[in-house]
């Protein structure tokens, strides 16, 4: 290229990119703090890719046995798997390795936190309604994949904690009626703890298959968002057919990029300063070793809670098990929760709103008291089971007997959601009545803000 060629013209004349670029620079983002939650998930994923790439350069997915030597005295000379040994090496001897591993782990936790909060924002504001049902379904799928990817990730290291987690995953796979036994031994390359191909399979799933699917679905999700444009909260000048907010260039792009680095900064600070999953302390996994007080990463807490809460029922015929117990807590329970989430747009249309129209203006939770009540009931159901997952910790810190908590929780999971429905619905109705109170003068006319060029604060849009 000669120095006189204008690079923008060069690209535009070959790809016709200037038109789309001009449009993209003017793309309008409506503003509300809760719209940053989805971005937070995206940026946590960026940090996961960056740190994960670094880690993949050092980790060796192999269950071959080796004698480990390194700076951690209690394990120096221990027989460990190559996978666990390389996890120790990259934590303890690779420069910056521990920072990267811990940042990666924190980012995985935040990734699921951000998706969950984003989901809550979406369901309570009715953002899943037409025309966004498909965007929403892709988002729910992303949550499921994010949980799976996190689980596979911390299962890779072959330390005691990951082995115990895998045993539970294996038992849940085995519990599938009919196909469980075959499925479990297929996935694990044999009976638990698995054949030599198992850890390499986990590795390829964690570093290639799942991230590729997640990245593709994120792309699809964002493309769908752009097709429909963002939803927005009601406000002055905001209508179903328009979108009011900041154009991408320059202010929004700079702030969003700032948000990316803010998320990355917090994750790196956590990764450097707050210890997480110190695998050298857990030691290598052997099937006959277990540790009391082991807790999974937070996003599996609801599943361990369900497995623990379930009474010891099993379906059996002629002295043979047909449905093993982990099926209820490990398959049926998450099946109900994700089934509910996938069905929500249809349920909402049939039971709560009865309409087929497009909705680009978001509801407040109070605008649809029955929807908000049902969502609150589901939330309370899952959160209660989640907290019961740490009932053993509650016993140790507060001395509330485990058995008592078990029986209380078994009753509460049915009573509390019903109560939540009633209370939240009434709360929403009360808020709506308060909105329409004569003292609020709902019939008063809204005065359009004066349009001036020197002050922004007077426009109703900022905030």
């Amino acid at each position: 290229m000669s120095p006189h060629v204008d690079p923008v013209a060069f690209v535009d004349e070959r790809l016709g990119a200037a038109g789309p670029l001009r449009k993209a620079l003017r793309y309008v983002f409506p503003e509300h703090w809760s719209f940053l939650l989805g971005e937070m998930a995206l940026y946590a994923f960026v940090v996961l890719l960056a740190t994960g790439t670094f880690l993949a350069l050092f980790f060796e997915p192999s269950t071959a046995q080796t004698t480990w030597h390194g700076p951690y005295a209690p394990l120096d000379g221990a027989q460990v798997s190559v996978a666990y040994g390389s996890a120790l090496d990259l934590s303890l001897t690779v420069p910056g390795g521990l920072l990267m591993r811990q940042t990666h782990h924190w980012a995985a936790l935040l990734f699921v936190v951000a998706i969950t909060l984003h989901l809550l924002r979406v369901v309570f504001t009715g953002a899943f309604r037409k025309p966004r049902e498909l965007t929403y379904a892709v988002g729910v799928t992303l949550l499921m994949l994010a949980v799976l990817e996190g689980y596979v990730g911390y299962s890779l290291l072959d330390d005691l904690l990951s082995g115990m987690g895998l045993a539970i995953g294996y038992s849940t796979a085995l519990s599938l009626p009919g196909i469980g036994g075959a499925l479990g031994t297929l996935l694990w390359d044999g009976a638990f703890p698995g054949g030599p191909a198992f850890v390499p399979r986990l590795f390829i799933a964690h570093v290639f298959i799942l991230p590729a699917v997640i990245a593709t679905l994120i792309g699809l999700h964002l493309w769908m968002v752009v097709r429909t444009r963002h939803a927005q909260f009601p406000g002055p000048g905001r209508r179903e057919r328009n979108v009011v907010g900041s154009p991408m260039w320059p202010a929004y792009a700079l702030r969003s990029l700032g948000w990316l680095f803010a998320v990355a900064a917090v994750l790196v600070l956590l990764g450097g300063l707050v210890q997480i999953n110190p695998v050298w302390q857990w030691g290598p996994y052997e099937p006959w070793v277990g540790e009391n007080g082991a807790q999974p990463d937070w996003y599996l807490g609801w599943l361990i809670g369900a497995l623990r809460l379930m009474p010891n029922w099993e379906a059996a015929v002629f002295g043979r098990t047909i449905i093993p117990n982990p099926f209820f807590g490990g398959v049926v329970f998450p099946g109900i929760v994700f089934g509910f989430l996938y069905a929500l747009p249809a349920v909402d249309r049939v039971f709560f709103t009865h309409d087929q129209a497009e909705h680009h203006l978001l509801d407040r939770a109070r605008d649809n008291p029955r929807r908000s009540g049902v969502l609150a009931a589901m939330l309370v159901f899952v959160v209660l089971i989640f907290f019961f997952g740490s009932a053993d910790r509650v016993f140790l810190t507060l001395s509330i007997p485990y058995e008592l908590q078990l029986w209380l929780a078994r009753g509460l999971v049915f009573v509390a959601p019903a109560l939540a429905y009633v209370l939240v619905r009434r709360w929403c109705l009360a808020l709506r009545r308060a909105d329409a109170h004569p003292l609020r003068a709902v019939d008063a006319e809204l005065v359009p803000p004066p349009r001036t060029d020197d002050t922004l604060a007077t426009t109703a849009e900022r905030g």
């Binding site: 038992s171 075959a182 002055p236 209508r239 154009p247 900064a265 277990g290 043979r320």
Partner: protein
């Protein structure tokens, strides 16, 4: 007469619709409050620009320092603080620039309409046009179904090559006469496990990592045993052995609860730390709490001539987590 009535009703319905349509503004304008929120402000703030410059320089220093520190293999806490600090400065700089320096604008964009009936009809027409002149439509669809089924089978069935299948699940190395050894491979003597304690044991000469291998040996007062009649001889001198793999979710049953004061405490039990399934050892590992659906399989024990523990037979049932068709015994 009836038809006439219908006509009148129809006409009324149409008129009602027309009147309603005339009264109500179209959907686009119904929510139009007449406010145009768009505006554009160019802030001019030398103070913010100075702050931006300072933050950018700090970010550069922090990020460069991280590069240097990683080269000298500094403490991970220092690395995290420096990199995180640098990124935080960069984030602050971008946010200051985005809020206080560049033009601030509120824009209004009309949403592009979604769904175009005419385009849809044309697209379907195009698709249908693709089969113009085909006469044996059913035959071809049926044959294509056969090909599709074959393709699906060819795509899915290779997963059976991934593993051996469920028949490997029921394997265990325990047989009559197999000696119990500890983690170092040393035989376990009958006197090595005092009353109230427990030990992990493996079958001599077998693969320990197999789920069917590890057992836990516990010792209780033989007078308190409450075993089924056919297992009376399985616990010589009150020594009992059970599979160490939980029948619920496959974790190692690694807690032994032994009462300190018998009259007020619960019976001796093995407890799994994953979901707290509790197995009463005196009653052949009957489940007394938690989600496990069946007892731990018991290993019959014998004490040989040299007072060593030896298996008196195979385990009493399937080891570990259950699957479709697991014997419950």
């Amino acid at each position: 007469m009836r038809r006439l009535l219908w006509r009148v009703l129809e006409l009324l319905a149409i008129l009602r619709g027309v009147v309603r349509a005339a009264r109500e503004p179209p959907a686009d304008e119904r929510d139009d409050d007449g406010i145009d929120p768009s505006c554009r402000v160019t802030p001019s703030s030398p103070g913010a620009e100075r702050a931006l410059a300072v933050l950018l320089v700090l970010a550069g220093l922090g990020l460069a320092a991280f590069g240097v520190l990683i080269a000298v293999d500094a403490d991970p806490r220092l690395l995290g603080a420096v990199l995180g600090g640098g990124l935080a400065c960069l984030a602050a700089a971008l946010i200051v620039a985005g809020l206080r320096i560049v033009p601030q604008e509120v824009a209004v964009e009309e949403r592009p309409p979604l769904g175009d009936e005419r385009a849809r009809a044309a697209a379907l027409e195009q698709l249908r046009g693709g089969t113009e002149g085909v006469s044996r439509r059913r035959l071809i669809v049926g044959a294509a179904g056969a090909a599709g089924t074959g393709l699906a089978a060819a795509a899915v069935l290779p997963i059976t090559a991934l593993g051996p299948g469920a028949h490997v699940l029921d394997e265990s190395p325990w047989r009559a006469g197999v000696a119990l050894v500890d983690e170092d491979g040393q035989p376990i003597g009958a006197d090595a496990v005092p009353v109230g304690s427990f030990a992990t044991a493996f079958p001599a000469g077998a693969d320990r990592r197999e789920l069917g291998s590890p057992v836990v040996v516990v010792h209780v007062d033989p007078r308190t045993l409450d075993l089924p009649a056919e297992r009376r001889t399985w616990a010589p001198e009150g020594l009992l052995a059970f599979s160490k793999i939980c029948t619920h979710a496959g974790c190692a049953v690694s807690l032994f609860r032994y009462p300190l004061y018998e009259p007020t405490s619960d019976a001796p039990a093995l407890v799994c730390p994953c979901h707290y399934s509790t197995f009463d050892v005196r009653r052949a590992a009957k489940v007394t709490l938690g989600p496990a659906g069946r007892p731990l399989p018991q290993l019959p024990l014998r004490i040989d001539a040299r007072r060593r523990l030896v298996a008196g037979g195979p385990l009493s049932g399937s080891v570990g987590p259950a699957w479709w068709g697991t014997q419950r015994g």
